[in-house]
Symmetry: C2
Subunit: 434 residues, 2 copies
């Protein structure tokens, strides 16, 4: 048996402490599986006195993660601090420069500096692993990098943020408002005090940027991602979705189109019979579409200390086996700088909910505006609203379009708005096949 | 770049021809991904003249797969002939003895001779890969062997046979009989002329034996699997399942219990909200339960030339990268000979459908027989059957039990039968949490 693999962990939050525990718990089995003993030899965290439920007295303690990253006491540097700058970035760079293998769960760091870090890793002939950075315990990185190696991938779509899926699930199942569900999510620890990063779609976008690069062999291009959050979703939209055979999910979607790579994050109407539509609560899921395998869907825990630690362990087992990886599956020089497919050119079906002023000719005029831009309607739903008798001046009208362009539907809705037939900004939700 | 990886394919059916095509189609990308060119240098099949949609004129042709397996012209032997004896077994053994890496899709061969082949591979210091042997294009082998390395796995359950899932899905959705759906499956090429191997649960059992070994670190023990097929499922059971919040699926389930490893294949009532219940048609799916990650579910194409070839390609890419694997994830001497948990000791809920003779006291007597064995009933459903007015002498009664033992429920039903209250053999379907 080769000499043991010495592991340094920077960041001892729930994920770091779980990794520490799993290495102890699985040690003999891991050694048999990988041919090598795994041992945590050093850790770095801010507060040495805090009780984390683990005994770190036998390992070297570093206050400075950069010092840990460069230490002769470790072979692998596990970065679990988070943050796209500061100590996390400095420490990962230092570890790579010192020739250490790096394992990280830091999606924000990779979305922002992934290309530079990959270049540094290539230059220093070391590997950067990040299974835990996307979709918690779901092995989506390994699946894209290795299992689908024989496929050309055309599309990935995923529920990559548990907070958003929790909120949308509860809104749907209990008919609650966005605000009420967000408050519950905050109380239960599923959402931060400032929830913008999650509910605004930015966390999903970071993860999508990484998956997109792996799927298409392209450079990370997080700035190209169109991002829309879930805060404008109304209980009425969820009710209409149900009636029309859909569920609303915040999806990250990346797709090869005729014009380039389209990357977008937004609430989406998903056919209720598709696997992604079945995923409720904090669970994550991702569907990968390959030319050989067809649609492959992975469903599992998207967050939580132990689930995320499971992915860190997957990387550590690979390292122990002696696996060498290119950070984004291909050598840097082989990654394409793919053209961005602009959102205006997106083609798909749309759900449009309008608050139509209750006067003769309004719906006819709206339908005409659609027709002028060759937008075909699959269905129109207009109902007498519950509060109509109380003197409401507008009624909700829902239109489902056949495939059309983002540009076209936006122009049509601008025209509808100018005509003065609607009382407020239209609600627009894209429809996806899966 | 290292010298190219020379591949020999034995068996040019739909899977073999698809692998041949994918290697050509993905060649440049694969070389970049793996650091090595992949090239098919030789093939073996029965009929050289048959049109398979591929051009094999540039590769060496072998009539004898054993000769191909031993040939100096190949580094990897890809076995896609099938069969648990005969040429497939001889050729795989010959390849291993010649020090070749072997990639196979042959579940029957591995379920029967897996331990011996693993021993041979270990002795000859070579690797035996079999991603394509289980669940077609779903990367379940890689996930168990690598991605879940940090987990203790407690349970696996899966829809591993597309034919059965197609038949059950159509029976449910269209209210058709088993025979009608089987005939359609045969017409569409989803089922063989002699369907026993699929519908009897034996194909599922072969796959389960392999997953079980990987999940629990145990020796392959296919003979220990309790197997029940789908041919006794009545449309009425599917209707009752729907009413009670379940779907009926043929599952392969392997579980660590207090008494050992329980392995079983049988029709199962699955909670409709669980991922496996959502899987319809020929699609496969498997849920892996680990102590760190929780439940991980993979859904995808379980059969078909290209989907299965995708898994062969995953193995070939690993070989090209220089991966070495223990056949069943651990060195042979580390695999436990786990005690078999006998089916009589299985504990779970049961769906029981009885054809009760329509006379006073029958249901009371049945309930008493259950109570005598401490079997608690969660629900009893008795309805006036549609044909009651035409003078039917028996009525269907459905019982749902809380968790009890297989032994207990069987003894209770034997007593009910002896009492003379039921007209035919009871229908018994096990209930699973996922």
């Amino acid at each position: 048996m080769t000499h043991k693999l010495r592991i340094g962990i920077a960041g001892l939050g729930t994920v770091g402490a779980s990794v520490f525990q799993l290495i102890e718990r699985q040690n003999n089995r891991l050694a048999l599986r990988t041919g090598r003993q795994l041992q945590v030899t050093a850790v770095a965290a801010r507060d040495k006195t805090r009780d984390r439920g683990i005994d770190v007295s036998a390992v070297a303690w570093f206050d400075d993660p950069v010092a840990l990253a460069q230490s002769d006491q470790i072979d692998v540097f596990v970065e679990l601090m988070g943050g796209d700058e500061g100590p996390a970035r400095l420490a990962v760079e230092a570890a790579i420069r010192a020739g250490k293998t790096v394992v990280t769960a830091n999606k924000a760091l990779l979305a922002k500096h992934g290309m530079a870090l990959a270049a540094l890793a290539q230059q220093h002939k070391t590997s950067l692993f990040f299974e835990a950075a996307v979709a918690g315990g779901i092995p989506v990185i390994k699946t894209l990098r290795e299992a689908m190696a024989g496929n050309s991938i055309s599309r990935i779509s995923g529920i990559l943020n548990g907070t958003c899926n929790y909120i949308l699930s509860r809104m749907e199942l209990e008919g609650l408002t966005y605000q009420a569900c967000l408050s519950d999510a905050q109380r239960l620890g599923y959402a931060e005090a400032d929830p913008t990063f999650d509910v605004g779609g930015f966390d999903t976008a970071h993860k999508l940027a990484l998956l997109s690069s792996l799927a298409f062999g392209t450079e990370i291009d997080a700035d190209a991602i169109y991002v829309e959050g879930i805060d404008a979703i109304d209980p009425l939209d969820l009710k209409m979705a149900e009636e029309l055979g859909y569920r609303i999910k915040l999806l990250g979607v990346a797709e090869r189109t005729a014009t380039g790579i389209e990357q977008r994050v937004h609430p989406t109407m998903v056919d209720r019979t598709k696997p992604l539509a079945q995923v409720m609560g904090v669970t994550n899921a991702v569907t990968l579409s390959g030319d050989a395998v067809g649609d492959l869907t992975l469903v599992g825990a998207g967050a939580g200390g132990m689930a995320t630690a499971s992915s860190v362990m997957s990387d550590l087992a690979d390292v122990a086996r002696g696996a060498r990886v290119e950070t984004f599956a291909l050598p840097l020089e082989a990654l394409e700088a793919a053209p961005r497919a602009p959102m205006q050119r997106h083609e798909g079906g749309y759900y449009v909910r309008l608050s139509v002023l209750d006067r003769p000719g309004a719906v006819a005029s709206i339908a005409t505006r659609m027709a002028e831009r060759n937008i075909s309607l699959e269905s129109i739903v207009q109902r007498k609203p519950a509060d109509h008798d109380k003197g409401a001046v507008s009624v909700p009208v829902v239109l489902i379009t056949y495939a059309t362009s983002e540009e076209g539907i936006r122009a049509a809705l601008d025209a509808v708005f100018s005509d003065g037939h609607i009382a407020e900004k239209p609600q627009l939700i894209r429809i996806e096949r899966n």
